[in-house]
């Protein structure tokens, strides 16, 4: 009896060592980056491990004033916000029609949307580039927003049809008896009870759009239009040896994602793995 508990204790200890070790490996690069963002370049070279000698914000000031990081930040906010709002509204409307309304092609429409989950964006970028350059949309935010909305549909519709399919019929029937139109049913009955799924779709979409490099890199050439990820790659060239300013810019980029993650991590984890777990 005694022997077994010793063995179990060792096993438990090993488990925690593995878990804590990997947790440290996950957090360490970000903590190190955060501390380094307050150092000067000489300090970074001489003392890469330790705490910064003083809390000085010079790097942030330089990234904001000279590096125009707030300009990129603003562009990212405009693009992410517009994409998320439009994508959530449109995908919830389609999902409602697919799960709750009677029409012959609903199953096929769903399948056409879901097919998009396995299509890599690389199979579309050359034609999109042609389309945007012919219509003069190249180098406008719309050139990033429109394809981002379109590629967000498959996952959004997948999650939302899953949820809306499970709403009891009675709620809508009661609303019909009360004399609601279909639009009132959708906005006053369905949207409020789907809130949690809608938040999930919105945050996952936000993270994807906020982090994306490829589309803005191709469709936005003017530096005044660029988003943060593209702006960061510009920084790499511009401040090639001024590492601490680059580090400050990286911190500014990841802070919104981390805040949203701390706030809504349950929705994010649920939404990002939904495709695999329910598929």
């Amino acid at each position: 009896m005694m022997k077994k508990s010793v063995k179990e204790n060792i096993l438990t200890a090993v488990k925690y060592i593995v878990l804590i070790g990997f947790a440290a490996l996950c957090l360490f690069p970000m903590v190190w980056l955060f501390l380094s963002s307050f150092k000067s370049n000489t300090e970074l070279f001489e003392n890469p491990w330790g705490l910064p000698a003083a809390m000085q914000f010079d790097n942030y000031i330089q990234a904001i004033v000279e590096g125009k990081i707030f300009l990129y930040f603003g562009n990212s906010v405009i693009i992410a916000f517009t994409t998320v709002v439009v994508a959530v509204i449109l995908s919830s409307m389609v999902s409602y029609a697919i799960t709750r309304m009677d029409w012959k092609l609903s199953r096929m429409t769903l399948n056409i949307f879901l097919l998009g989950m396995m299509i890599p964006v690389y199979a579309m970028i050359v034609p999109l580039f042609t389309m945007f350059s012919k219509t003069g949309l190249l180098n406008t935010h719309a050139a990033v927003i429109l394809p981002q909305i379109a590629v967000s549909f498959p996952m959004a519709i997948f999650i939302l049809t899953g949820f809306m399919g499970s709403i009891p019929r009675e709620l809508e029937e009661a609303a019909v008896i009360d004399g609601c139109s279909i639009y009132q049913i959708f906005f006053k009955v369905i949207v409020p009870i789907s809130k949690s799924s809608l938040v999930t779709v919105a945050v996952v979409n936000f993270i994807n759009v906020w982090n994306d490099l490829l589309l803005p890199q191709i469709f936005l050439t003017d530096s005044s239009k660029m988003t943060l990820p593209v702006g960061l790659t510009e920084f790499q060239g511009q401040y090639a040896t001024n590492y601490v300013v680059e580090i400050a810019a990286v911190i500014i980029t990841i802070i919104p994602s981390i805040i949203v993650y701390i706030w809504l991590h349950r929705n994010i984890m649920e939404g990002m793995v939904a495709g695999a777990v329910k598929g």
């Binding site: 488990k15 593995v18 878990l19 990997f22 947790a23 490996l25 996950c26 690069p29 890469p48 491990w49 409307m93 389609v94 409602y96 029609a97 697919i98 309304m101 009677d102 429409t109 056409i112 396995m118 299509i119 890599p120 690389y122 199979a123 579309m124 970028i125 050359v126 034609p127 580039f129 042609t130 350059s133 429109l146 394809p147 909305i149 379109a150 549909f153 019909v176 279909i182 993270i207 982090n211 490829l214 890199q217 191709i218 943060l228 990820p229 960061l232 790659t233 790499q236 990286v250 990841i254 994602s257 981390i258 991590h265 994010i268 984890m269 990002m272 793995v273 495709g275 777990v277 329910k278």
Partner: protein
């Protein structure tokens, strides 16, 4: 009732806006891309139809073949980290560990961080002058192993593969853990009574019951590894001398740096086919199974 839920006009109002956007910006470009891949074009002057010549050239293109090989290496690295390693973490957290939710949240965190920021962070860690990796090596007395990790053609790709492994372990672990939590506890209770050990329980209950999810996850891992772009674009730009080039970065280079759009479109078609094939292949290997219990 029927009248309200079957009204053609309101169905159109609900469906058409999204469907039109989806058709114009996803479905149409895919078809058009296949057509462009049969042309020699710079998009400014009218293209010339050259049949499958772009694809023939791809096979003869040493850099493309190298990029394809690198993607295969990426797939293998991802499979190692994101199946056995993620399963190990997932299984530990499945055994009622204190702070299980905290560990999940922390492990998952890197996968929500911008790929460009992750790439730059690791570029600093691999940096030859102040990078932590070299500092660690000299601290443990193996200063002779110090290197300019990302500038060396032998190590550049491996360093990036390591970052991919690091970044997405938690993501796949959460998928697998969610599957484990769907298993009815009564199986484990029965196994305890029969005296089956933890390992036996894992191999004869957990593993077979989460197999359908592992299949889906394997597809995600493979297609994900075919689609990586940000990390390579930021950390090495495909260099040195194309040593860490992936199909995605090479496509960007051919299309938007040397303006060979037809050639670039052909790489896009190859990527599309590989993604479809990996879905089909996994259905073939694992068999079509229902993912519910």
């Amino acid at each position: 009732m029927k009248k309200i839920f079957g009204n053609k006009k309101s169905i159109a109002v609900f469906v058409l806006p999204a469907f039109i956007i989806y058709s114009v910006f996803v479905l149409f470009p895919i078809g058009y891309n296949i057509y462009v891949s049969l042309l020699r074009t710079d998009l400014m002057s009218p293209g010339r139809f050259i049949g499958l010549k772009n694809y023939e050239n791809l096979l003869k293109d040493k850099v493309f073949v190298k990029a394809l090989g690198n993607n295969v290496l990426m797939v293998i690295g991802s499979l190692i980290a994101h199946l056995p390693l993620a399963l190990l973490f997932g299984n530990i957290l499945f055994q009622k560990v204190k702070g299980s939710h905290f560990f999940q949240t922390v492990f998952f965190l890197p996968s929500v961080i911008c790929g460009v920021a992750v790439g730059m962070t690791w570029t600093f860690i691999y940096n030859s002058e102040f990078g932590l990796l070299n500092k660690i090596l000299s601290a443990i007395g193996r200063g002779d192993l110090q290197s300019a990790w990302l500038a060396d053609k032998n190590t550049a790709l491996l360093c990036i593969v390591f970052v991919v492994m690091w970044q997405f372990v938690g993501y796949h672990m959460v998928i697998q853990l969610a599957a484990m939590k769907n298993i009815s506890p009564s199986y484990y209770e029965a196994a305890e009574i029969d005296g089956a050990g933890k390992w036996k329980q894992f191999t004869s209950i957990t593993l077979p019951l989460i197999k359908p999810i592992l299949k889906v996850d394997a597809v995600l891992i493979i297609t994900g590894a075919l689609k990586y772009y940000d990390l390579v674009a930021v950390m090495t730009g495909g260099g040195p001398n194309h040593a860490s080039e992936l199909m995605s970065t090479y496509m960007f280079y051919q299309g938007f740096r040397t303006l060979k759009y037809g050639y670039s479109a052909a790489i896009g078609v190859v990527l599309l086919l590989l993604c479809i094939c990996s879905v089909a292949l996994s259905n073939f290997v694992f068999g079509k199974e229902q993912a519910d219990y």
